[in-house]
């Protein structure tokens, strides 16, 4: 749940990267860590085991101040993917404002992806969150692998499901920024509807996204270079 502090004029937003084990959640955050200017982000906190599997989560804070003097603090989390960390996933998901679901595009991973999607819906419900209204973006990761579903299949997927789908090869940093952009844009709109970010807090969408993405290395992304405009002038990316 987004936290507003009217006294200190602060908004704290939480975004969680969810998905099956080894689908690339941590890789997404590591790539963002490389691409985001240290001026607006903190350290990447990684709580992992010695074999590099996420134990609790990874977390990276991003923060900026708007012209109206509002401090926006954004925290990006990943959940641990291994099945046994179910309770940790539920805890990390608590109070999230948006979700980036990182899916492995390979056909062989389809059933485990579906299982984790359902698992996420269950854990969202356990946290009192409604997946029908929560901003969710699906990242189809590992597009470069041999067994990956074709673009036509991803296109079909886009037509049948509600969340936007962003293709990615996170290990090469492709689609990572686009995913963050899509999820933050949806997140902004949902918060704006609920809390009047623009009207009450004087944080327009363009500034919210601009303050972050002006400090992101956009080279090689499909985002327009500085200053970034919302996708297609309004409609969420499809």
């Amino acid at each position: 749940m987004v936290q507003f502090n009217a006294e200190t004029r602060e908004i704290a937003v939480k975004v969680v990267y969810y998905g099956p084990a080894l689908s690339g959640k941590t890789t997404n955050l590591q790539s963002l860590f490389q691409k985001i200017d240290p001026k607006v982000r903190g350290r990447l906190m990684t709580l992992d085991t010695k074999d590099d599997r996420t134990l609790f989560f990874d977390m990276m804070p991003v923060f900026f101040k708007t012209h109206a003097g509002v401090k926006v603090k954004l925290k990006l989390y990943t959940v641990p993917g291994q099945v046994m960390h179910e309770s940790t996933r539920r805890i990390v998901l608590q109070g999230t404002d948006a979700v980036a679901f990182v899916a492995d595009s390979r056909r062989s991973e389809a059933s485990s992806t579906l299982a984790y999607w359902n698992n996420m819906l269950k854990n969202l419900e356990a946290n009192g969150l409604d997946y029908r209204t929560l901003p969710i973006v699906i990242q189809m990761n590992k597009r470069d692998l041999e067994d990956a579903r074709g673009d036509d299949e991803v296109g079909d997927l886009r037509r049948v499901i509600q969340p936007p789908v962003v293709p990615a090869v996170a290990i090469r940093g492709e689609g990572v920024v686009e995913t963050l952009y899509a999820v933050l844009q949806l997140c902004y709109r949902s918060l704006d509807r609920a809390f009047g970010l623009d009207a009450k807090w004087h944080v327009p969408e363009k500034e919210f996204l601009g303050k972050i993405f002006a400090h992101v290395n956009l080279a090689g992304t499909r985002l327009p270079s500085h200053p970034p405009e919302p996708w297609g002038g309004g409609a969420p990316p499809r």
């Binding site: 903190g42 350290r43 609790f56 804070p61 923060f63 401090k71 309770s87 805890i91 608590q94 946290n127």
Partner: protein
């Protein structure tokens, strides 16, 4: 349903992210190294650490003058509380005494967590005591003050800022590490608590289902007991009247009628036996088996059992052998042991094709026990079934089109009766090579075991 608020949602004060004792040690050694004092405040203005180096005499002297004291308090207040922004840069505060402080906010994840005050130090640009200091008192002793001030480190402001920046870098790592460790520990506890809650939930559900199943099982046993009893009553009449007719009490019969009545009687007896088995099993399951212990002549019991099955065995063309050996009398419930042997022999006959043989033998075992074996040359039992053949209602061929009849109760009854004696059952078998079933019974069963089985035998699966 909603989980308790996680630790991750909370904002933590600086003191929670640092081990204050260890941090104070680091501050001391840092201040000693540069010979400049150091103070750390949290966001609320609480002082977490204070190290004074070299300024005690100088500041002490100023404090002896009322005006000096007043201005000192004001300076310290500014250094501690005056807003310094949220940029990672040092700001210099000048003291009326000519000393300087450099102050920098502690920033973590974009938040101001507190501030670090480095000083007082004497800026290298200071050549003499400033007027602001000289004026604090008419009897101000400039010479003494100057000598006290020499004990305070003289350093260029730029250098002081660099030193402070170095300290801030160290502090940043300490805060990050502390935060990381704290999160790991707290989240570990939260995860375990959450898993525990989830498991407790599941356990409760399982316990409820288990209680429900147990109740159903009890109802089933009651039902079986009642039904077997109710079935037996009319069946006794069927058999009794058939017998009466056979004896001619209802008038003379033709040979054909006699044959039919014979079949009615035989099948009636079979049915009665089956119902009795069901009644036995329900009694066993309800824990109501009572053993009546007497001296049992094993040889007699074995011959009895063999004799019962002999007609059927001959009809199938089987050879039947009885090798009692030299076996002593033992304490047991005669009827139950006999029934065990009849059940085993009847199985042996049932599962052995024509031309085979069934042999009953006995031997004395160590530890005052006797063993009775029923061996056949029948179809045998596959390895995957051996462990379960003694389960209630278990049948190796459970299909509806199976070749061999039966209710699946015979061996379960054998096992229960033998265990009620404190004995055990066993089987060795190979498919196609026949089976050997063995009863091991104590020569003198313990009375507690003999009176009543301590716990009812579960209905299915062991």
């Amino acid at each position: 349903m909603s989980l308790p608020a996680s630790f991750l949602q909370q904002r933590l004060p600086l003191a929670d992210l640092l081990d204050l004792r260890a941090f104070a040690e680091v501050c001391h050694s840092f201040a000693e190294l540069y010979r400049v004092g150091l103070k750390v405040f949290d966001e609320a203005g609480n002082r977490l650490v204070e190290v004074k180096v070299g300024n005690a005499d100088f500041c002490g002297y100023i404090w002896t003058k009322p005006s000096g004291r007043e201005q000192c308090v004001a300076t310290v207040g500014r250094v501690k509380s005056e807003p310094i922004g949220e940029e990672p840069a040092a700001r210099t505060f000048e003291c009326f005494s000519g000393c300087h402080y450099v102050v920098q906010p502690v920033l973590y994840e974009g938040d101001v967590m507190g501030r670090v005050v480095f000083g007082p130090f004497v800026p290298e640009s200071l050549v003499e005591l400033p007027q602001t200091l000289r004026r604090i008192s008419s009897d101000f002793d400039a010479k003494a003050a100057a000598s006290y001030q020499e004990k305070i480190r003289k350093v260029p402001v730029g250098t002081a800022e660099k030193i402070l920046k170095h300290f801030m870098d160290l502090l940043d790592v300490m805060v990050f590490t502390g935060h990381k460790n704290l999160i790991a520990a707290r989240l570990h506890i939260e995860a375990v608590t959450e898993s525990y809650r989830e498991l407790s939930d599941k356990n409760r559900q399982l316990e409820e289902s288990y209680a429900k199943l147990k109740e159903l099982d009890r109802l089933k046993s009651n039902f079986l007991a009642t039904m077997s009893h109710e079935l037996r009553t009319p069946l006794t009449s069927v058999i009794g009247y058939s017998e009466m007719m056979l004896e001619g009490l209802g008038g003379p019969l033709t040979a054909e009628q006699r044959e039919y009545l014979g079949i009615i009687m035989e099948k009636g007896e079979n049915l009665l036996q089956l119902i009795t088995s069901i009644l036995d099993i329900s009694k066993i399951e309800a824990g109501r088996v009572r053993l009546v212990l007497t001296e049992v002549d094993a040889i007699q019991v074995m011959r009895d059992a063999v004799a019962t099955l002999l007609p059927l065995a001959r009809k199938k063309g089987l050879k039947v052998g009885c090798e009692p050996g030299a076996i002593p009398r033992f304490q047991a419930d005669r009827d139950k042991v006999r029934q065990c042997l009849v059940n085993l022999c009847s199985n042996a006959v049932k599962f052995t094709p024509a031309g085979g043989s069934v042999t009953v033998s006995a031997e004395v075992l160590a530890g005052e026990r006797v063993a009775i074996h029923v061996a056949d040359t029948g179809i045998g039992i596959g390895e995957e079934h051996v462990d379960r053949v003694f389960d209630v209602f278990y049948q190796v061929d459970g299909s509806s089109t199976r070749e061999y009849g039966g209710a699946g109760l015979g061996l379960a009854i054998v096992k229960s009766f033998v265990e009620a004696h404190g004995g055990e059952v066993g089987v060795r078998s190979r498919p196609g090579a026949g089976s050997v079933f063995t009863l091991v019974l104590p020569v003198r069963p313990a009375p507690t075991v003999a009176v009543t089985p301590s716990s009812p035998v579960p209905a299915v699966g062991r």
